[in-house]
């Protein structure tokens, strides 16, 4: 087990290194000079050189990249002499726009994205699985057709359309909800709930529709398995037959997909956060891309990759608990 985890951890670091490298290359070769952007309108060549020196942009590519990557684990110093700034590990540099520590920005915004992701996940798992299960059990009935038609429609609506429509109806027309703002739960639980309700609904809709279809398909497949015939031949109650024999085999594959989806969402729900103006990691990503704020873009890219890679490892570990046929063997 320890050997397995060590191997996986090494894999995680390698993947993050590669993600880092590719993102860095893209910016090094494609983006306009950040120093020119920071310098602004009243700019002199001396000032540009100075900025480049402070940001380390005058160094060759390998030195810049290694400086950045090493900074994540060991921290790093910017500038020299009186201008020296120490950036403690985990150092993701400073925003070109606000000069804020990027790590502090991430720490500040991650709870917002996590709240959005967790609330939406609870909603979509519950709705998706219950609807899919009912559809499978009532396969071919009007309920099944209606639910699956709705699911197809629901997964076809783009998030921003749904978000704007909900906002127009609930906030502007009916005025039953306030405009969302990222208030902490401890400040005002009621406002917190009202603020996050629409983002949750918007994000959950697409996933719930997808999960309903997945659950339905998996349950129908499982119901046709030979072991279900055995369970019926044993005289078990229909409830026990469904709950014990059909549900677990049918839902186990959904854990894999859920792990991936949820992990990706922790890296920020870009569209939903932007439409509702929630200051999460997703909105940070959108803003940084619009302003070409390289350190922030690096950070959100790495963060998303980190969650996906970790999510993968967690799913693999959880799977060994869910499916007795899957066991860990260290390679």
């Amino acid at each position: 087990m320890a050997r397995y985890l060590a191997g996986r951890a090494a894999g995680v670091v390698l993947i993050l290194f590669l993600v880092c490298l590719f993102t860095f290359i893209i910016f090094f070769t494609l983006s306009p000079d950040p120093a020119v952007m920071i310098c602004g309108k009243t700019c002199t060549p001396e000032r540009i050189d100075q900025i480049r020196g402070v940001l380390g942009l005058d160094e060759p590519f390998p030195a810049q990249f290694l400086g950045f990557f090493a900074g994540i684990f060991a921290g790093r110093d910017y500038g020299e002499g009186a201008n020296l700034v120490h950036c403690a590990a985990p150092c993701l540099g400073y925003s070109f726009q606000t000069n804020q520590s990027v790590w502090d920005m991430v720490v500040e915004r991650l709870p917002v994205s996590a709240t959005v992701a967790i609330g939406a996940a609870v909603l979509w798992l519950f709705i998706g699985i219950v609807a899919g299960l009912l559809s499978a059990v009532k396969e071919g009935t009007w309920w099944d057709r209606a639910a699956m038609g709705l699911a197809l429609g629901g997964s076809s609506i783009p998030n921003y359309v749904l978000a704007l429509a909900l906002q127009y109806v609930l906030v502007v027309q009916l005025q039953v909800l306030p405009f969302p703002q990222a208030v902490p739960f401890s400040d005002d639980p009621a406002l917190w709930f009202q603020s996050y309700l629409m983002p949750w609904l918007v994000l959950a809709t697409g996933y719930a529709c997808l999960y309903a279809r997945l659950t339905r398909a998996n349950v129908i497949d499982t119901l046709a398995e030979n072991f279900m015939r055995t369970a019926r031949s044993k005289g078990l109650s229909p409830a026990l037959t469904l709950r014990r024999h059909a549900l677990r085999p049918a839902l186990t594959p959904i854990t894999t997909i859920f792990g991936m989806d949820f992990a990706a969402l922790l890296g920020g729900a870009l569209i939903t956060e932007t439409v509702f103006g929630l200051n999460g990691v997703g909105k940070m990503a959108a803003d940084s891309i619009a302003k070409n704020d390289q350190p922030v873009i690096m950070a959100v890219t790495l963060l998303a990759a980190f969650f996906v890679v970790i999510g993968n490892v967690v799913v693999d570990l959880v799977y060994t608990r869910l499916d007795p046929r899957v066991r860990i063997t260290a390679r």
Partner: protein, 269 residues
């Protein structure tokens, strides 16, 4: 004493897009207590559908007509609840492929235990003892430990032994074995056949043994029903059917068995 199982004019009909199709037509036979009746036929002859109809396990879209009586109980007319009480308790079934017939997510002990408790109730601990006893009875080594293992951790023959232990844990009066040895190696086949014959003899239950293999039937059944395209083409004692088959199809089936005794007879003659 009356027969254990009476099947009269059993017809199984599938409703399809092109109208109803009879997959079993007017099949009649009886199984006495303490007797094995073999049902023989090629794939699609309706032998499995006949057995599923007896268990009340016909797939969606299939309906059975006629009479099926188990020990006086009308099976076709039984409510779903009454059927559940019969299944696993008074009649049990074992299937062709023991691996896919066991749920991969649960230990074999639990899968036998849940059947026992569904019919007899009682604590898990008490049921566990019965389960271990049932596994020991079918010759599974180290049953206390093995009850906690999952189906994939057993060999094919062991899995079929487990299915047999499960089917017999409530001591049913009728066992339906649907091609129980087809998916197994030849040497293991013989062991499983021996086991089924022994257990049947010990318990005095009736058995319906379904196979496409006439050689197997001849060693285990006292009476034989030959089916083809859903119809019953021959029905009689094993000696009768094997010695003087009345139907061409049965003769053809018998001729398809490679015989080792003919040349031997010539030599000894």
């Amino acid at each position: 004493m009356s027969d254990l199982l009476v099947v009269e004019d059993l017809t199984v009909t599938f409703s399809t897009a092109r109208g109803p199709v009879d997959v079993v037509k007017d099949v009649s036979f009886t199984v006495g207590r303490d007797e094995t009746v073999g049902i023989v036929g090629e794939s699609g002859s309706g032998k499995s559908m006949t057995s599923l109809a007896i268990m009340g396990l016909l797939p969606k879209g299939a309906a059975a007509r006629g009479t099926i009586r188990l020990d006086g109980t009308d099976v076709l007319g039984a409510s779903p609840r009454e059927l559940r009480q019969l299944r696993g308790d008074r009649m049990s079934m074992i299937f062709q492929d023991p691996l896919s017939s066991l749920n991969p997510y649960y230990t074999v002990g639990l899968q036998i235990e849940e059947l026992y408790r569904a019919h007899r109730g009682g604590s898990r601990a008490a049921a566990r003892e019965v389960v271990v006893g049932a596994l020991r009875q079918v010759g599974l080594p180290d049953p206390e430990r093995r009850a906690g293992h999952y189906p994939h951790q057993f060999s094919g023959g062991q899995r079929q032994r487990i299915m047999i232990a499960m089917a017999l844990v409530c001591s049913p009066s009728l066992l339906i074995a649907d091609e129980p040895t087809t998916a197994l190696d030849v040497t293991v086949q013989a062991q499983i056949l021996r086991l089924l014959a022994d257990l049947r003899e010990q318990s005095g239950m009736g058995m319906v043994f379904i196979t496409h293999d006439l050689a197997v039937i001849s060693s285990i059944a006292t009476r034989v029903l030959v089916m083809r395209r859903g119809e019953q083409v021959e029905y009689g004692t094993a000696e009768q059917v094997f010695a003087e088959p009345r139907h061409d199809y049965t003769r053809m089936l018998l001729d398809s068995i490679p015989r080792i005794d003919d040349p031997l007879d010539e030599v000894s003659a």
